[in-house]
């Protein structure tokens, strides 16, 4: 039964990785930037809601609404000020500096804000759906929060697939991914999609953080590891196929849970990162990484 329960908890975290991976892959298509800060939005969502409810005695619903609104505003401003200057402005920059360093810095900036506002303790947002974990029969259990996470991931996944396949907007995003400048020439404003998808990613991450935090709890620097794992899953799909990224994200989540359950609780994450790094190093072509920068 241990195995079954580990797989269930792996699917819960894996579905977060998978959603993040899809977001990273999609945003890379329209912006040519890797979003290394997506996990930090999850962290700030969870800690922010916790702070409003626990310290300021707000009700849960308005606390969530305010945090989501704050993330939207922040995402909008970040795009308007930083990304616009970085990609469209006079000092427009190209290549690997833009690809990595802006979001790398953003990740630490958000951590800095969280450290300033919420301190360094581990906290969790109150459970949206409280109560004991649900029994699935045969000794298998799943947290209510876990059910919400998986359900939300499924909704997000289906919605993204429908938008990409079925709408003109989706086609435009595909086109940005196929050819950045070509898309611009035929009148697709990739800046608009860059902004839209950045904000959508941030909001989704925020929701995931709020939903999941009752299971693991977050502190100011929990975000980076989640971003990186989602990022690796996206890399596995060559930043081009959100579907494949989802599968990779689920796989990594399950692997992480199994390592924690069977190998070492202390070193589970470390071993996971080592395996992922080794996978990138040994088979970069399988990761689709060698073509990305062309």
């Amino acid at each position: 039964m241990k195995l079954g329960n580990l797989i269930i908890s792996g699917i819960v975290t894996g579905s977060i990785y998978a959603s993040f991976a899809a977001c990273v892959a999609l945003w890379y298509r329209v912006s040519n930037i890797l979003n290394l800060a997506v996990g930090d939005f999850a962290m700030i969502g969870a800690l922010g809601v916790d702070n409003l409810v626990r310290v300021h005695h707000w009700k849960l619903a308005p606390a969530i609404a305010v945090m989501l609104a704050a993330v939207v505003v922040f995402g909008y401003l970040y795009d308007r000020i930083v990304l616009r200057l970085a990609q469209d402005g006079r000092t427009r920059q190209e290549g690997i500096v833009v690809t990595f360093f802006f979001t790398f810095a953003l990740s630490f900036f958000i951590e800095g804000i969280a450290e300033l506002l919420y301190g360094t303790d581990v906290h969790a947002a109150p459970a949206v759906w409280s109560g004991q974990s649900l029994s699935l029969g045969g000794g298998l259990h799943i947290d209510r929060a876990g059910v919400l996470v998986v359900a939300f991931a499924a909704v997000v996944g289906i919605a993204l697939a429908l938008v990409l396949r079925g709408t003109l907007q989706g086609k435009a995003i595909e086109a940005c991914g196929e050819n950045f400048f070509g898309a611009r020439i035929v009148g697709i404003d990739n800046r608009k999609y860059r902004r839209l998808l950045f904000i959508v990613s941030a909001v989704l991450a925020c929701v995931f953080g709020i939903l999941e935090s009752p299971i693991t709890g977050y502190t100011y620097n929990s975000g980076a590891a989640i971003s990186l794992t989602g990022f690796i899953a996206a890399a596995y799909a060559g930043f081009q196929k959100p579907g494949k990224a989802v599968v990779a994200g689920l796989g990594i989540g399950i692997l992480e849970a199994l390592l924690g359950g069977y190998v070492s609780a202390n070193y589970a994450d470390t071993i996971l990162y080592a395996l992922l790094a080794a996978a990138v190093l040994i088979r970069p072509s399988a990761m689709g990484l060698d073509v990305v920068l062309e």
Binding site: L106, F108, A274, A277, M287
Partner: protein, 638 residues
């Protein structure tokens, strides 16, 4: 012409930039460091500076690897940890003196880096960047629970860097000496011929490869260099601080290192050193800063990248360029006023570029000119086979781009290759140039099978090329852009660049090629400031500078006006007299005017081969390329 004056300024330039820079930077670091370390190492200020200098060792390496060569990695903090923990363990557990441990661990780190980088040397730099992003997480995750290394608290040692140093002064002086040596080595490297290779690699891997740079080898060496210097910095850290915390390895430590690099100036070694000292100093003296370090660093790196991507060094450089003309010694520093040479503008009518080449023939001063004069005089060249392509085919996952291509070219003459869009012209050029591996068939150059050789090796055998979109190295002068093709350092190791630079020699060769094409007066202009036509001419000069036996030109006329094309014709004809040119071009008039034989490619197959006369009158060619009768569209000889 102005050959005498350009030679004079040239030698003056060479001295100021290449040889004096590293010495000045090193002297500055050495003297300033010794004053602080010797005078006040035991004070709080002195201790902060010594700590900062250990970081400066790391950031100097980052300036070469990440800034100058644009090979992004996130593993510096982990190698710093390797150096620090290595020295601590060897000193405390094995009883080695710290200085000996420092040497041992620094050498060992080179091996570790080699193994890691070897695994990805075939793929792009992105894979290395992605993999190393996880290194700080792995390192910190391991150290936090590794009790034999002090776990989450850290590891203390007793052995100071200077054996038995009672005061911090001797440790400080030793640190300053190490930093100065690192600054000297890295600035020498950056200013050398190999430094130019590294810069080209950073701007465009494809271009660098086409100019003979062995890019995967250089990437490997860069990773080793950056990692070894990070390890050295960590080792000095252990020997001076006598305590190694696991937070040294954290992702936030990596961020701090990047901040130091970007604030100081990522492409400047001295900037990176000053950035390390400045950032470390301010975090050391102000409690507010150190408490909110994440917030401040995250914001700072963003602001620096937006305002001045080259950091403080970039700002200083910009101010200097603005102020230099007004200073008393302006004659030494100011860039000469450059006029676009008449040969390019054609302003004085008859004296076009072909006129310039005629002068070249008469004087025959340079080795470069003698080489081409000999080629021109060689009567057998027009008939001896140079390139032989046999049965070449290329498929991309079922899509056939080239099928069964046979092609033979002699040592001299212009051969046009045209065809509709998607016919496979650029792919065929890639197969000959080495950037595309054919699915079947062979490519022979002067009797040697080069089918499996990469572009960089073919360059060494005389294959040179230009690109459809201009591929110049931004941020460098015209002279350096051409000098890339004149380097003979491809087979040397990175370390050789520190010891001897042959960049001056390469620049002299480049100058000859520029003079040959009448571009000598543009030598010290930054390439980004030139018009498209001149950029194309510089690219042509670069392709010619290596004295190629086979020149591959991919649409040299695209984007040029009618008058500019007219001038290009003159240049091409002159080049065709001395070397073999395979010219891909959409401008059929241009091709018909200069090529002695024209090949037409359609859907991956050669469908026509003939002289320009046959080309003009061919029904097939006209229906394929123009869709009209020959008389209406294809103009006669100009």
């Amino acid at each position: 012409m102005t050959t005498a004056t350009t030679t004079a300024t040239r030698s003056g330039r060479r001295w100021s930039s290449a040889d004096r820079g590293p010495l000045l930077s090193t002297a500055f670091v050495l003297i300033a460091g010794l004053i602080i370390a010797g005078g006040s190492a035991d004070s709080y200020f002195g201790s902060v500076v010594i700590l900062a200098l250990t970081y400066a060792i790391v950031t100097a390496g980052m300036a070469v690897q990440i800034g100058f060569s644009q090979q992004v990695v996130f593993s510096q903090s982990v190698f710093m940890g390797l150096g620090a923990y290595g020295v601590a363990v060897l000193n405390e557990n094995a009883g080695w003196p710290s200085l000996l441990a420092l040497v041992a661990i620094t050498i060992a780190s080179g091996g570790v880096a080699w193994v890691i980088a070897k695994a990805v040397s075939r793929a792009s730099g992105l894979a290395l960047a992605v993999a190393t992003l996880m290194f700080p997480l792995i390192g910190f995750g391991y150290l936090s629970y590794a009790n034999w290394l002090g776990g989450s608290i850290g590891f203390s040692l007793t052995g100071t860097l200077w054996p038995g140093a009672a005061s911090a002064t001797l440790n400080g002086i030793l640190t300053v000496l190490i930093v100065s040596a690192v600054v000297f080595a890295t600035t020498r490297l950056v200013a050398s011929d190999i430094g130019l290779e590294l810069y080209a690699l950073g701007v465009s891997e494809n271009t660098a490869q086409a100019m003979g740079v062995r890019t995967s080898r250089r990437r490997l060496e860069l990773f080793i260099l950056g990692s070894v210097l990070a390890t050295l910095g960590g080792a000095v850290y252990a020997g001076t601080q006598l305590f190694v915390p696991p937070t040294l390895v954290q992702a936030t430590a990596e961020l701090s290192l990047l901040i130091m690099l970007f604030v100081g100036g990522r492409r400047s070694v001295l900037g990176a050193v000053l950035g390390a000292v400045g950032i470390q100093y301010f975090t050391g003296i102000s409690n507010t800063i150190s408490v909110h370090i994440l917030l401040i660093e995250g914001a700072l790196i963003t602001v620096v990248l937006l305002i001045e991507p080259d950091g403080i060094a970039g700002i200083v450089k910009r101010l200097w360029h603005r102020a230099a003309p007004h200073l008393p010694f302006a004659a030494l520093a100011a860039p000469e006023a450059v006029l676009v040479p008449s040969a390019i503008t054609g302003q004085d009518g008859e004296a076009g570029i072909s006129g310039e080449l005629a002068i070249a023939e008469e004087t025959q001063t340079s080795e470069f000119r003698r080489h081409f004069a000999a080629r021109r005089a060689d009567e057998a060249a027009a008939t001896t086979t140079l390139l032989e392509v046999r049965g070449v085919a290329k498929e991309y996952g079922g899509l056939v781009v080239l099928r069964d291509i046979d092609l033979t070219l002699p040592q001299r003459g212009i051969f046009g290759l045209c065809g509709p869009n998607g016919a496979g012209k650029s792919t065929l050029l890639g197969v000959v140039g080495g950037s595309v591996r054919p699915s079947a068939g062979t490519v022979n150059l002067a009797g040697e099978d080069i089918t499996r050789l990469p572009a960089s090796e073919r360059f060494g055998r005389g294959v040179s090329r230009t690109f459809q979109a201009v591929h110049l190295i931004r941020g460098r002068t015209v002279l350096d852009n051409v000098a890339v093709a004149c380097l003979r350092s491809q087979r040397s190791s990175l370390l050789r660049g520190i010891v001897i630079s042959r960049l001056a020699r390469a620049r002299e060769d480049a100058m000859e090629a520029l003079d040959y094409l009448g571009l000598g007066e543009l030598a010290y202009r930054e390439v980004g400031s030139l018009t498209l036509e001149t950029q194309r001419m510089v690219e042509l000069a670069r392709a010619m500078a290596s004295r190629p036996s086979l020149l591959l030109l991919d649409e040299p006329a695209s984007g040029l006006s009618e008058i500019q094309r007219e001038r290009l014709r003159g240049v091409l004809r002159a080049i065709g007299e001395v070397t073999c040119v395979l010219l891909v071009e959409h401008d059929l008039d241009l091709i018909a005017a200069v090529a002695e034989r024209i090949l037409v490619l359609e859907s991956g197959a050669l469908v026509f081969t003939g002289t320009s006369e046959e080309f003009r009158s061919s029904e097939l060619v006209n229906s394929l390329l123009i869709g009209a009768s020959p008389t209406t569209t294809l103009g006669g000889e100009h």
